[in-house]
């Protein structure tokens, strides 16, 4: 057998082979690329991150008054909106941008999966919104509300946001332009929030909205997150988790099969 010279070995190592790209490595690279823009825009991000909890504080005082139950629902709803719907909206906008400016073409010609790209964008936005949500929880504690950040809360955050982010990504890719994507995502956000006990407790919603709510991942995401925040890990919580896992698998299947980023 011919000996491999040092030059050949080095040359061979400099030849890319997609087989060397693990899923974890692809996800990590994609995530770091998503986070790269923060280096240049961190002051704005920081200010924005502080504004959300301060706004939550304002609403807490103005709307809930001394009613602790209402206050809990309102604050947890606010955190859910921030973590799930803002992430969906951001993911839709990012994918629409990538479609419009040909950035998706770049990723489509690399050996990376679109599921990992959706997950990376989703995670990027979660990392962006998580500090403000945690700060909201801290402020809520100061007002006597009993929220907790535990393992399940941190587990639910990605689980709850992924299925809606997948919807956002699909809208971003399928919409013909940025404005249309924004409008569709806005309508979906409104529907998801209205059709189910996200900001308003179930007993105050019309029955038909509760029925529709049972079909939407946002309902289970909000309920699971509310359970985690209040530390009540009962059967309902486990059912929420199970539904979220199912929705996430459906979202992955949907992204893999129906989101056409490669073939125009």
């Amino acid at each position: 057998m011919q000996a491999i010279t040092e030059t050949e070995l080095v040359d061979d190592q400099l030849r890319a082979d997609p087989a060397n790209l693990s899923h974890a490595r692809a996800f990590w690279d994609l995530l770091l690329i998503q986070l790269a823009n923060w280096r240049w825009s961190w002051p704005a991000t920081l200010i924005n991150g502080l504004l959300v909890p301060l706004t939550a504080l304002f609403f807490l005082r103005a709307a809930a008054g001394d009613n602790l139950a209402s206050a809990e629902f309102l604050v947890s709803g606010n955190i859910i909106i921030s973590l799930i719907f803002t992430t969906m909206y951001g993911t839709s906008a990012r994918f629409s941008f990538m479609r419009t400016f040909g950035v998706l073409d770049y990723y489509a010609t690399l050996p990376v999966s679109k599921i990992w790209l959706v997950l990376a964008v989703n995670t990027g936005f979660l990392i962006l919104t998580l500090p403000s949500s945690l700060l909201t929880i801290v402020i809520a504690q100061l007002f006597g509300l009993h929220f907790q950040v535990n393992f399940f809360f941190l587990l639910i955050v990605p689980l709850a946001s992924f299925s809606l982010s997948a919807v956002g990504a699909f809208v971003g890719v399928a919409a013909p332009n940025f404005d249309t994507a924004n409008t569709i995502t806005g309508i979906l956000q409104f529907l998801f929030m209205g059709c189910g006990p996200i900001l308003i407790p179930a007993d105050r919603l019309p029955d038909f909205l509760n029925v529709i709510g049972h079909l939407l991942p946002s309902t289970y995401a909000a309920d699971a997150m509310r359970h985690a925040l209040t530390g009540s890990f009962d059967t309902a919580f486990l059912l929420d988790m199970a539904f979220l896992v199912v929705f996430d698998f459906l979202a992955m299947f949907f992204v893999a099969r129906r989101m056409e980023w490669r073939r125009g």
């Binding site: 400099l14 790209l21 823009n37 400016f101 073409d105 010609t109 125009g264």
Partner: protein
């Protein structure tokens, strides 16, 4: 570090002599359902083989179908009919062949704007499957080779158009994939940068045997680099062959190129408009094809008709690739036009 083997490097699963790309009866019509019956094809019945280790040029005006063809070759657009084999693999069935073998630089690269120049090259290499040290080494080497040392830590979005394009080119080269597809690689570059790009393209081809497919409007400069060329017009390939072969078809002719003085151009253009073999290249620039035999007299006659005082300059040359292009398509290639501006808008 780099192999100096001038022979084309065959990827492990490519049979010797096999075309890198084999394109067969490829047609693309944008739209669905009824639109397919009435829409004009963007590509029609394209047959093409691209050989290992060659620098292949794709020439054509705006809307000729070049970018659609390129995007089909990298699987960004699905053909309406026909097939594309890459290294013998049908890319519709095995899309992974494209990501494994082809590095593609689009006409307007907008990815990775928030990364620094060096990071953009590093991440592209790493995501193509280079190890971390290899991707870092490649990024450092390419930054130096492309003269990007001063901007290596600057965000790509803050670079000039030319620097941005050089970063994109360098990122395209990382990973040493066996096929490079470059869509207008010298757009937005000044003459010095353009010279650098053409030199690098030749160097990569010669040192590594990389097959390079170029789409360009810059026919004059590309002519020195391109080995084989396909000329596209109205969605079809109207000319295909080695540059020398295509030019040989016009070896019995010479071209008289006239640069008109703008203030008196109208009168000169009146004389040129009805002249056989005369074509307008650009505003105030015309070309007249003249039979080589008896050419001196013909040139004298043309200059007398147009009048020397109406000319800023003139030159006589043998057929260039641009002349071949004009002969095949019936019009000059525009240097300002930009192919398919609505590429990312669904049609």
């Amino acid at each position: 570090m780099i192999s100096t083997n001038h022979e084309p490097i065959n990827p492990p699963d490519q049979a010797p002599g096999q075309a890198v790309y084999h394109i067969e009866r490829l047609t693309k019509i944008y739209g669905r359902g009824r639109a397919l019956q009435t829409a004009k094809p963007a590509n029609q019945d394209i047959n093409l083989d691209i050989r290992p280790g060659e620098i292949f040029g794709l020439l054509g005006s705006n809307g000729a179908g070049k970018s659609t063809l390129i995007r089909q070759m990298v699987n960004l657009v699905a053909p309406t009919s026909g097939k594309i084999l890459l290294m013998g693999q049908d890319i519709a069935r095995y899309p992974g062949a494209v990501t494994r073998y082809v590095a593609y630089m689009p006409q307007k690269p907008h990815a990775l704007l928030d990364l620094t120049a060096e990071e953009a090259i590093y991440y592209t290499g790493h995501m193509r499957g280079l190890s971390r040290p290899a991707a870092q080494q490649e990024a450092r080497r390419l930054v130096e080779e492309w003269g990007l040392e001063d901007v290596r830590k600057k965000a790509v979005r803050h670079l000039s158009g030319g620097q941005h394009r050089l970063v994109s080119l360098a990122a395209t080269l990382t990973g040493n994939l066996p096929v490079l597809i470059l869509d207008e690689p010298t757009n937005e570059l000044d003459p010095a940068f353009r010279k650098q790009v053409w030199e690098q393209i030749v160097q990569v081809n010669q040192k590594r045997g990389t097959t390079i497919i170029l789409v360009t409007h810059n026919v004059q400069e590309a002519e020195r680099v391109i080995q084989r060329v396909a000329v596209m017009s109205q969605a079809r390939i109207v000319g295909l062959g080695r540059v020398s072969e295509l030019k040989a078809q016009m070896e019995q002719e010479v071209s008289l190129e006239l640069f008109l003085r703008p203030d008196v151009a109208a009168a000169a253009e009146m004389a040129l408009e009805d002249m056989p073999g005369a074509r307008r290249l650009q505003p105030y620039q015309w070309s007249v094809s003249v039979e080589r035999t008896g050419g001196e007299e013909a040139i004298h006659r043309i200059l007398s008709l147009v009048k020397l005082e109406r000319l800023e300059d003139f030159r006589v040359h043998t057929a260039s690739l641009e002349d071949v292009y004009m002969r095949l398509t019936g019009h000059a290639i525009s240097h300002e036009e930009s192919e398919d501006k609505s590429l990312n808008v669904k049609r």
